[in-house]
Symmetry: C2
Subunit: 334 residues, 2 copies
C-alpha cells in the first residue's frame, strides 16, 4: 500500500518547496494566489493530511486542550463539558479528556500524560489536589483553569460558582419553611472541595441561626447509594424532616427509598438536590434543587482557558446559581 503522503510529496507534485506548502496551509496570505491554487490542488489530489505529531513537534503547539474530570460515567459533567468542547471546536482546538475516578493519583498521572502530549492548556475540576501538581503545571508553564468552583485566590484562575453560598441559599429557604432537623447526604468530602463547600454551606447557616448542626452521611455517587444513605440517616437521626443532598442523583435515590418506606414526600420528609439535572423534573414530586449554569460555565471556562493559552491575563469568574423550587420541600408552618 502506498504510504500516506507527506508534505514533501505535495511539494514535489506542486513543484514548490516544502516551506511553501507549509505556508499555504498555515498562513495562506503569505503565498501568492496562483501558487496557492497549485498547492491546494496537489493536496487534494494526493489526499494529503498533515501529520499532527510532526507539526506539534516542530511548532511546539498542539491545538489541544486537556481536561481531567472526576468521572464521565454520570451525566454530572456531561453538559458542561459538551459546552466546553464546542467552544474549543469553534476555535480549532481539540479536547483531550481523561477521567480520574476521583483518585488523586490517577488525576496527577492524567495531568502528566496531558502535559507529555503537549496540551496547550488544561481544565481541572475543583482545587483540592497536591500542591505539587500546581508546581508541575507551573514549571512546565502549562496554563490551567479550575472549574465547578470559584476561588479568586486559588493557585490558578477559576471559572465557576460558589458551592457553599448556593447551598446556603437553599438551606435558608428550607429553614424559612420551618425545618429544624436537617440531614445531609453528601458525596465524600475528602479531596472534593465542591462537596465540602456544599456541606459547609448548610452548616454555616445552621450555626449562624444558632441551630444544631446537620447530621451528615457521606457516600459514593449513585441512585442506589443515595437510597442506602437515606436508610442510614433515618437510623442515625429519625427525627429529620429535611434531607439536603449534595446532588440530584443522591436526592433521587433518597426519594425513591423514602417512598419505598411509605414516607410521603414532602409531607413526611422533605428532600432537595443540587445541580438541576434532567432527572430533577422526572421524579415525583419534582425535586427542589440548585440550578448550576453548566452550559455557561463550560463556555466561560473554555474562553478563559484559551485566553490564558494566548498569553492574555485571566480573571477568575463567578457564575450565579439559582434556586429551583419545585414540589419536594414542605412548608412546616402551615
Amino acid at each position: 500500500m502506498a504510504r500516506t503522503p507527506t508534505l514533501e510529496d505535495v511539494a514535489d507534485a506542486a513543484g514548490v518547496s516544502t516551506a511553501t506548502v507549509s505556508r499555504c496551509l498555515n498562513a495562506p496570505e503569505k503565498v501568492v494566489e496562483e501558487t496557492r491554487r497549485r498547492v491546494l490542488a496537489a493536496v487534494e489530489a494526493l489526499g494529503y493530511a498533515p501529520n499532527f505529531n510532526a507539526r506539534a513537534l516542530a511548532a511546539k503547539r498542539t491545538q489541544t486542550i486537556g481536561a481531567v474530570i472526576p468521572t464521565m460515567e454520570n451525566a454530572f459533567f456531561a453538559e458542561g463539558m459538551q459546552a466546553f468542547q464546542s467552544v474549543l471546536q469553534a476555535e480549532d482546538y481539540m479536547l483531550l479528556m481523561a477521567s480520574s475516578g476521583y483518585d488523586p493519583k490517577v488525576e496527577a498521572d492524567a495531568i502528566r500524560t496531558l502535559a507529555a502530549r503537549g496540551a496547550d492548556g488544561i481544565l481541572l475540576i475543583g482545587f483540592d489536589r497536591d500542591p505539587e501538581v500546581y508546581d508541575f503545571l507551573r514549571t512546565q508553564s502549562i496554563p490551567a483553569i479550575v472549574s465547578w468552583t470559584y476561588d479568586p485566590k486559588g493557585p490558578v484562575p477559576s471559572v465557576g460558582f460558589d458551592n457553599a453560598a448556593a447551598m446556603a441559599a437553599l438551606t435558608r429557604h428550607a429553614l424559612a419553611l420551618g425545618h429544624r432537623e436537617v440531614g445531609v447526604i453528601s458525596a465524600y468530602q475528602r479531596g472534593n472541595d465542591r462537596a465540602r463547600g456544599r456541606v459547609e454551606g448548610v452548616q454555616s447557616v445552621l450555626s449562624d441561626l444558632g441551630l444544631k448542626p446537620a447530621h451528615v452521611i457521606e457516600t459514593a455517587y449513585g441512585v442506589a447509594e443515595g437510597a442506602l444513605a437515606f436508610d442510614q440517616l433515618m437510623l442515625d437521626a429519625p427525627r429529620t424532616t429535611l434531607v439536603l443532598c449534595g446532588n440530584d442523583v443522591l436526592a433521587a435515590g433518597a426519594m425513591r427509598e423514602a417512598q419505598a418506606r411509605r414516607l410521603h414526600v414532602p409531607d413526611d420528609i422533605s428532600i432537595a438536590g443540587f445541580d438541576d439535572l434532567g432527572l430533577a423534573r422526572l421524579v415525583d414530586p419534582a425535586l427542589s434543587t440548585v440550578r448550576v449554569p453548566h452550559r455557561k460555565m463550560g463556555e466561560a471556562a473554555a474562553r478563559a482557558l484559551l485566553q490564558h493559552v494566548a498569553g492574555e491575563p485571566v480573571e477568575s469568574q463567578l457564575l450565579e446559581t439559582e434556586l429551583r423550587l419545585r414540589g419536594s420541600l414542605a412548608n412546616l408552618s402551615l
Copy 2:
C-alpha cells in the same frame, strides 16, 4: 525558566548516549542493571518526561485510541465509554474522544482528525456512514471497530447487540399482553442504524403477526422531545394503547406527558423504553425496557480493538440483551 529536560539532557547527566536512555525507558531488559540505575536516577533528578509527539513521530505509534460518539451530553454512551476507557488505560493506551452531534460531516472530520493525530485504532458507533469513510480508514490502514450494533458482514468488525431483535422481543412480550394499537417514538432514523433497527424490530413483529404497522414519530433525543412526541402521537393515533420508545429518555418524557394529561400509566397507556438507564427505575411506574450490556460491550469493544491494532484477526461479537419488565406495561387481557 529552564526548558523542560530532553532525552539528551538525561543522557548527558547519566553519561551515556541517548540510545541507551531510550532503551532504558522502552526495553529495560536490553540495558545492564548498573547503567539502568544511573539512567533512572538521572531521569528522576531532572524530572524528565518523554515528549509524546516526538516519540510518536519516531516510533509511528501513539498508544492512542480514538472514539467518535454521537454525543456525550446524555448518559447514553457514558457507561459503555467508561468501560472502554478503563480497559484501554489498563493496557497503557489513552482514549481520544470526539463527539459528532449526530452530524455525518462532523463525524467524518473527527475521524480525519483522529487519523492525523495518529490514533492507532478507532471506535465508531453504528455502521451508517459514507462508504468513503471506510475507504479512508482502509487506505490509512487504521484498524476500526463498530459498536452499539452488530453486523458480522459489515465493512469493519462490530461488537454489539442486535437492535432489531431486542426490540422485537420487547414487542412480542407487549403483544402477548394484548396490545394491538402500537405507537413508536424513535430517534431520527436517518444515519442512525440503531434507531432504524429498533423501529424495524417493532414493525417486523407486527407484520409477522398480520397486524397493522405501528405509527412512528421521530424526534430528537431528550425528555422534552419525548413529551412532545407523545402529544403528536396522541393526535395522530388516539387509540394507541402501547408506546414503544427508542430509548429510556424518550420514554420518560412520554410518561411525564401522559401523566400530565391525567392518563394513568400503565392502565390508560403502556410505555416502554430501551437501554435500561438509571432513570428507568426512578420514574413511577418503573419503566419496562431492554437492558443493554453497556459495560460488557465497552470492555469487549476495547479488547477487540486492541487485538485488531496488534494485528491479530478479530471476529464480530454479539452480546445478549435482556428484557427488564417493570410496571409500565399493562396486561390488557385481564
